[in-house]
Symmetry: C2
Subunit: 385 residues, 2 copies
């Protein structure tokens, strides 16, 4: 690895942006205001046009680079991509990432206190859509003085947000980079989301969404996460990582047990248990429902119509082993952009790491991102009027 | 469809075979005896060599053809393949299918009464393996007077049993037809099994396996089944069957709800709810664990060593859209048989129906099965001694 790749943004402090006016959701419901927790890395330049917005996936948050304390074992979730000298170079760009509206890592969501009742919103929280998440992010951009986005970048649900950014604010977004995503949540993805929701909602501790943060449907949420985690990986990567290796006690002791026997079982249980300590079950319901609702073609009549306003340069990246949002679904985004007369590139990376490929270390991906961010933007002039 | 294809075995009556001697499991545990529920179609010929054994998958049972009553809405699970004039022609063959040992459709399993306690075995039932299932089936064959099997046929877990039949009783099995299966349960398949088991075992109603048939972990079992059902289908088939179509009430009413909104959600909930009325949660734990344990190469040192005793003609069928036991895993079985010096063919069928492709109507599959069963068996002579 080149020395330039090794830079870290260092210690970062999350901040809160509070919007204190009424905010209307697509559902018609409203909040008297909301807070978005966010982090920034690098400096906004004088012309306020070097900002890059990072959009996170279902279980992600605003902490995508650096560390909060020197003792942190892990850095932010996209630290390999973002930092001084990295593909998203914080020496040049002002990078912003916010926890999504409806989330549970500091932004207003179902676990936030409803000022009317002094209790958590629970299922009284408005239904949130990807559209609502993006509109809330736009208010944060305005607050930060960002005048234009050099790029919006996101994978998975973050890719959905990035696409909507380019559709809703075409003059604001100069580059759109969407990875491992889809323009339309398909039946299989909805089905997995529904099983996760059922695991949560059928847990008696869910109590129709009315629980304390210490209580709550911990069992159901862990089951949902264990299952979802499998969909982020691939058969090949799981076999390489775990194969049929057994836990030490199982290898030496009784092979006939329902207790943890294989390493992959232990890994999954760890994933489930660590998730329940950082994620709110109601947020999981809301955000998976937001994913289910996402269907750009239906919302705008056709995918070409959806992309008609886009002015951004566009790069879509699919990963061969991603079976949650497979390559075809990513390729189809680029094709629809092309049919709509837009600048669009599609790159397909051969990985065997599954959906999470967009998060993993890949010089090939870094080079694509770097090249895309260097690309000179020629604004698309619309001659059709 | 040709008229000859339309034959049905008609009304069938399941029977019970009771073995009243001590039976030792691979785990070292024993039962004082056991019962297998089974069905037969067609007649055993005078030379007792026209029998075909059908082995069922995880959630299957002995009822693979015909109907139990004229009112039955559904016929047996492989009725499209088995019957007079069909690919497995009951005019020629004596077809047998038994519910597996450890099952819950009439064969002895965890829901059976433990004669010592007069209570259901629950988790006191011996750990069962595919090996145990096959040995129990062999006792049934002996009881029925079957002297040789024209063929053993199975898909998924049934394919595992079929392979072990040819390994354990090489002189008894003349043809082995395994479909949509694997010689080695991989990490992803173990992972899905483990999530299902956790959903069951974390349901308070599981009560460490000690529950009445009316009670039990119905919620956990339904969650496990919903998830597993997704793995039996494919993204493409789910999208074709359900797409993003909404339930009538959701289409007309409130689009913002955690209640059933998409047809695929309704379908999955139906799958979960109908399963809990026919399947025992402890059986689900035992049989998924039997799947996890299955690794022929490890059990025999290598896959070639495992297949060394085989004398059967062999056909392995993989399905392109099967992502639970993908084509490669099926192809690898045939390749290992070839390396072991055996007669082995591999056919890969292009379907988009996923793992369950082996169950679905396919003239291409019928023709392969028919041709394989017609194939004259040339016994393999071992010149190595």
């Amino acid at each position: 690895m080149l020395p330039a790749e090794s830079g870290s943004v260092g210690l970062v402090v999350p901040r809160d942006f509070t919007y204190d006016q009424s905010f209307s959701f697509k559902s018609g419901q409203t909040l008297p205001g909301f807070t978005l927790r966010f982090e920034t890395y690098g400096e906004l330049n004088e012309t306020c046009d070097n900002a890059i917005l990072i959009c996170h996936a279902l279980s992600g948050d605003h902490h995508c680079a650096g560390r909060h304390t020197p003792e942190d074992r892990k850095s932010g979730w996209w630290d390999n991509l973002i930092g001084p000298g990295k593909a998203v170079d914080t020496n040049r760009f002002f990078v912003i990432c916010s926890n999504c509206l409806g989330g549970c890592s500091g932004s207003t969501g179902p676990s936030s206190t409803n000022p009317t009742t002094e209790q958590p919103y629970g299922t009284q929280f408005p239904f949130v859509t990807i559209h609502d998440m993006v509109r809330a992010q736009k208010l944060l951009m305005d607050h930060l003085g960002v005048r234009t986005l050099h790029a919006v970048i996101g994978g998975s649900m973050g890719g959905m947000q990035a696409m909507l950014w380019a559709i809703l604010y075409p003059s604001f977004v100069r580059r759109l980079l969407a990875m491992a995503t889809t323009a339309r949540e398909g039946a299989q993805a909805i089905a997995f989301n529904e099983v996760g929701r059922q695991a949560i909602m059928q847990d008696p501790a869910w109590n129709k969404g009315d629980y304390t943060q210490e209580g709550g449907p911990r069992v159901g949420l862990a089951i949902a996460r264990m299952m979802a985690h499998i969909t982020y990986l691939s058969d090949a990567s799981m076999d390489r990582k775990f194969g049929r290796r057994k836990k030490a006690q199982a290898a030496n002791g009784d092979a006939y047990t329902f207790d943890m026997q294989f390493e992959v079982e232990s890994y999954l249980r760890y994933q489930g248990e660590s998730f329940i300590n950082r994620f709110d079950a109601n947020s999981y319901l809301y955000i998976t429902r937001a994913l289910d609702q996402f269907d750009l073609g239906h919302a705008y009549g056709s995918l070409e119509a959806a992309f008609a306003p886009v002015k951004a340069e566009t790069l879509v990246v699919g990963f061969t082993s991603d079976w949650l949002f497979p390559p075809e679904q990513n390729r189809n985004i680029a094709l629809a952009l092309l049919r709509a007369g837009k600048s669009a590139s599609y790159a397909e990376l051969s990985t065997d790491l599954g959906h999470d490929s967009f998060l993993l270390e890949s010089e090939e991906l870094y080079a694509l991102v770097r090249g895309f961010l260097e690309r000179t933007h020629e604004p698309i002039v619309d001659f059709s009027i």
